[in-house]
């Protein structure tokens, strides 16, 4: 009897210990997150000023200077990549919803899964081969092509998943009124799922805004201000990489500042997407 009693107690103790271990390990994961945010804020906040956000970088040895070329470059890359990826991605998503079965649709779905899994540096190589080699120069355009390829799977999937939720009655009602198929899709189905598509677009932008690897040999970086799509541009992640791996403490400080700006932007984008998804949920 006594044996039995201790055995149960041992099992209960084990159970409690296991719970404690699970809780401990789960929350241990938050430590690096807090540390990263703490270090970025601590080291980055001091350098951020109006000048930092609006001035060009100064050559080594001069104080001051900013990151405006990288900010402008990042914005330009995002806008260009979105211009390429949003129409294609949304149309491909519509195609997948309209063609539930069929060899091409299955192929496209598989394609998107494969594309999602391709390492970003490999996409950079492809954009280099396609755009940089044929134009003969590093350019914002080539960087945007690489980023657009990375945006596609996210947009296609979110468009398909959102539009799938829209009930058939809506489509049938519209078609029964004599509205042509294309107008039914563009004026009834897509608007009904617009917020879901928008969420996907924002998530895709958040995904590419911090990408560095595909830009290393496409957008390349540029210490001067450039708004020419056919010329190299700088971007925030590229600048962080170049500054952080440089041997100069002044540049390290700037890298922290740029990192703070980038993290605020990317996390803000994610947050924004989440708010939209929650507030204007696509439901029927």
């Amino acid at each position: 009897m006594l044996m039995h009693q201790t055995n149960i107690q041992l099992r209960i103790v084990k159970d409690r210990l296991f719970l404690a271990l699970v809780v401990l390990l789960s929350f241990a994961m938050i430590a690096p997150l807090l540390l990263i945010i703490f270090h970025i804020v601590k080291n980055g906040i001091g350098i951020i000023s109006w000048e930092f956000l609006t001035a060009l970088p100064k050559p080594m040895g001069e104080t001051g200077g900013g990151i405006v070329n990288a900010l402008a470059g990042t914005m330009m890359l995002i806008v260009l990549a979105s211009l390429i990826a949003i129409p294609l991605g949304v149309l491909a998503g519509i195609y997948l919803v309209e063609q539930k079965k069929g060899a091409i649709a299955t192929g496209v779905r598989l394609c998107m899964e494969v594309l999602q899994g391709i390492p970003s540096i490999v996409i950079g190589i492809v954009a280099y081969a396609w755009v940089v080699l044929s134009m003969g120069t590093f350019s914002a355009l080539s960087g945007s092509v690489a980023l657009a390829i990375m945006m596609l799977p996210v947009i296609v999937r979110s468009t398909e998943e959102t539009l799938r939720l829209i009930p058939d009655n809506l489509r049938e009602a519209s078609l029964a009124l004599g509205v042509p198929y294309s107008r039914t899709v563009l004026k009834v189905i897509v608007p009904a799922g617009l917020t879901g598509i928008l969420t996907g677009v924002l998530l895709a932008i958040a995904r590419i805004a911090g990408e560095t690897a595909p830009l290393l040999f496409t957008a390349f970086g540029n210490p001067y201000m450039s708004l020419n799509v056919l010329k190299p541009v700088d971007s925030l992640p590229l600048m962080i990489f170049n500054f952080a791996t440089s041997p100069y403490p002044e540049w390290h400080a700037k890298a922290w500042g740029a990192a703070l700006v980038l993290v605020v932007f990317v996390l803000g984008m994610n947050f924004f997407a989440k708010v939209i998804a929650k507030r204007w949920k696509v439901q029927f």
């Binding site: 149309l91 491909a92 091409i104 899994g117 950079g124 042509p180 560095t212 040999f217 993290v263």
Partner: protein
């Protein structure tokens, strides 16, 4: 009746019908374009690595010397470096992601605590990899250096271990969120049956939940392994960029992704560029095989 209206309607009707067919064709064209895009990526990579295949042949995969100056292109060092860092990262991350999976999928399915942890995971997944790399370079490297000094190995700070630590932190969100979904899916009758037989919750998790979620957890592990292998920036910044076979976990090394990141823009020789592209092709194949197996398992679980 307004004169000319019937013609007008007919015109509009004609227009809509033709716009309809244009629209449908456009949709199909975009679908086909997506297929061509992926095919194009493959063809480009293969075609551009042909010169390297011709010049190096099979020794590309078995050679352990990578020295472009002497036209030696052996990529085995990078494959070893990649697999070593990735598997080490996986081993480090596994206890944590399993704990989070059990935490979110079994102990705290909803409520304040679980949504807090979920938000933290999402936040972590959103941080760009160059930021992880920078944090690793400025915060983790000095820490590892101190540990190395105390344990009497060469205090580089950078190397396989540092890269694996950063990678582990980066992949925890992925494997944790996939695994917790899977743990969540374990039918409650199974769990209740175990509990009603007198099992404690720990015994129930160990004997019922984990075995029945095993294949899904494995899929999550594979998918995060795929991510770790393809991860570039964070690894490039802390691995030390030494083109040698790593001699241990403190040794500097190079991965497939980081050699491309480091040398591609500077490569001038055509064969050199082609060899780097072949490394990229190899990297893509390794990632794809691993993540496709993972996705296949997930797909089979869902159906």
């Amino acid at each position: 009746m307004i004169r000319g209206q019937p013609v007008h309607t007919a015109d509009r009707y004609m227009f809509k019908v033709s716009f309809d067919s244009i629209f449908k064709t456009a949709l199909t064209a975009v679908g086909v374009l997506m297929l061509l895009l992926l095919a194009g990526i493959f063809v480009t990579l293969v075609a551009d690595s042909l010169p390297a295949m011709k010049a190096t042949g099979f020794s590309f995969f078995t050679g352990t010397t990578w020295d472009p100056v002497f036209k030696a292109y052996g990529s085995l060092v990078f494959l070893v470096g990649t697999l070593l860092t990735s598997f080490l990262a996986l081993a480090i991350s596994l206890p944590f992601s399993l704990a989070i999976a059990i935490f979110l999928g079994e102990y705290f399915r909803e409520g304040m605590v679980s949504s807090f942890l979920k938000s933290a995971i999402e936040l972590m997944a959103g941080i760009p990899s160059v930021i992880f790399g920078m944090w690793g370079l400025f915060v983790l490297v000095p820490l590892v250096r101190q540990v190395e000094m105390q344990s009497g190995v060469a205090p580089y700070g950078i190397g396989v271990l540092t890269a694996a630590l950063i990678l582990a932190v980066m992949i925890i969100p992925y494997s944790a969120s996939i695994s917790s979904d899977v743990v969540n899916l374990v039918p409650s009758d199974l769990k209740e049956a175990a509990l009603s037989l007198g099992a404690t919750r720990y015994e129930m998790i160990k004997k019922v939940v984990l075995p029945s979620a095993r294949s899904g957890i494995f899929a999550g592990v594979l998918l995060s392994l795929g991510r770790a292998i393809g991860e570039t920036m964070a690894v490039t910044m802390v691995i030390g960029n030494a083109n040698i076979l790593p001699t241990g976990i403190f040794s500097p090394a190079n991965t497939m992704a980081s050699i491309i990141a480091n040398e591609f823009a500077e490569a001038t020789d055509a064969v050199y560029v082609s060899c780097l592209i072949e490394v990229g092709l190899l990297l893509m194949m390794v990632t794809l095989v691993i993540s496709m197996i993972g996705r296949y398992i997930m797909y089979r679980m869902k159906t």
